[in-house]
């Protein structure tokens, strides 16, 4: 084998219990665990052709490749999560050798253990809220007295000029009310969900090109929920779904996820916090 063509060690997650790899071991090359400092690091052997720094950069421009590989990453971690609490790593965390990985485990062992203790009996759930602004506008026309009044004036006037100005006035007012309502609703939804969240995060909003939806994302949030409170959390989601449906808001709740949003690493190490 020529130098530089050696394989890489791909790290998925770290646990404190011997991980069950059945069902997912066929997805990648040599899925196994490396045991060090009472921690199990779940790894596979990744090919240099795909994951060397240079090749990875090239592959990251291929959305088809990303989707397949990220799906495998997620499936493996979810499988381990069925039997143990996990610290999930970011996609494509790679080491040149198992020794190099062990050095890293050595350095971060206490942080990983602290995270595993903290996350032990909890689950990550995600709630994204979308708004169909057309429907929201319709509900505003029905409910907002001032806009309703302008609407009637537009209908009754025979002057085109007056109608034009009234429409402009209505549009300005409408935009203001829409923004006000979106803030109010988003804040209300978040406040009610956080009652069941031990920890919460608000993440950046993603545009339609990424969401592949027709409506706009207005809230992107993650909640760390106690395992015993998941049912309560989901019933709040259901209540909010029903309450906000007529106003054009849609809540998309997913989980349980590996705690991607809630692992805390020291900032000095370039951690997630």
């Amino acid at each position: 084998m020529k130098p530089g063509e050696e394989d890489l060690v791909y790290l998925y997650c770290v646990t404190e219990k011997a991980p069950e790899l059945k069902w997912v071991e066929e997805l990648v090359n040599r899925l196994h665990f490396v045991y060090h400092r009472d921690l199990y690091a779940v790894v596979s052997i990744a090919s240099y052709d795909e994951f060397s720094e240079e090749n990875l950069k090239r592959n990251l421009s291929d959305m088809g490749w990303i989707k397949i590989k990220v799906d495998i990453h997620e499936r493996i971690i979810e499988r381990i999560m069925e039997g143990a609490c996990v610290v999930p790593f970011k996609f494509a965390t790679l080491f040149n050798s198992e020794d190099s990985l062990k050095m890293n485990l050595e350095e971060h062992a206490e942080e990983f253990k602290e995270n595993l203790r903290r996350l032990g009996d909890k689950e990550e759930w995600g709630v994204k809220v979308y708004c169909d602004t057309g429907r929201l506008r319709n509900s505003i026309v029905r409910e907002d007295g001032e806009i309703f009044k302008i609407d009637r004036e537009i209908d009754s006037t025979s002057s085109q000029g007056k109608a034009f100005f009234l429409k402009k006035k209505k549009e300005e007012l409408m935009n203001m009310v829409v923004n006000k309502k979106l803030n109010e609703y988003g804040q209300d939804i978040f406040n009610r969900l956080r009652e069941e969240g031990i920890e919460v995060r608000i993440n950046k909003l993603l545009p339609k090109e990424v969401t592949e939806r027709k409506d706009e994302m207005i809230l992107n949030s993650a909640f760390l929920v106690g395992k015993g409170r998941v049912i309560a959390f989901i019933s709040i989601v259901d209540i909010l779904k029903a309450q906000y449906n007529t106003l054009g808001l849609f809540l998309d709740c997913t989980g349980p996820w590996p705690p991607y949003n809630f692992c805390q690493m020291k900032p000095a190490n370039g951690g997630a916090h």
């Binding site: 990875l56 990251l60 421009s61 790593f89 190099s100 993440n203 991607y260």
Partner: protein, 82 residues
């Protein structure tokens, strides 16, 4: 999970989950953007993730515009900018 006896059952189960979860959206939002970062020998940088967004012809500014449109940000703990 009790009904899963064979690899095929398992695949059907996972496919259902995948349908629900691993959309392009969740891929970008979690697996690429979040997750623990340690100084591995090769790690995807924030710049790499931004490049993926750009690859999607998504202008990051459109996200900012939306946040601006929505007005005052929702009060709560925010992730550090990524």
């Amino acid at each position: 999970m009790d009904k899963i006896k064979t690899l095929k059952d398992r695949d059907i189960y996972l496919d259902l989950q995948r349908e629900r979860k691993v959309t392009l959206l969740e891929v970008l939002d979690r697996v690429l953007d979040k997750g623990v970062v340690v100084s591995g020998d090769i790690v995807i940088s924030v710049a790499d993730v931004d490049l993926i967004y750009l690859g999607l012809k998504v202008l990051v500014s459109s996200v900012e515009t939306m946040e601006h449109l929505r007005g005052v940000p929702i009060q709560g703990p925010m992730q550090e900018p990524t």
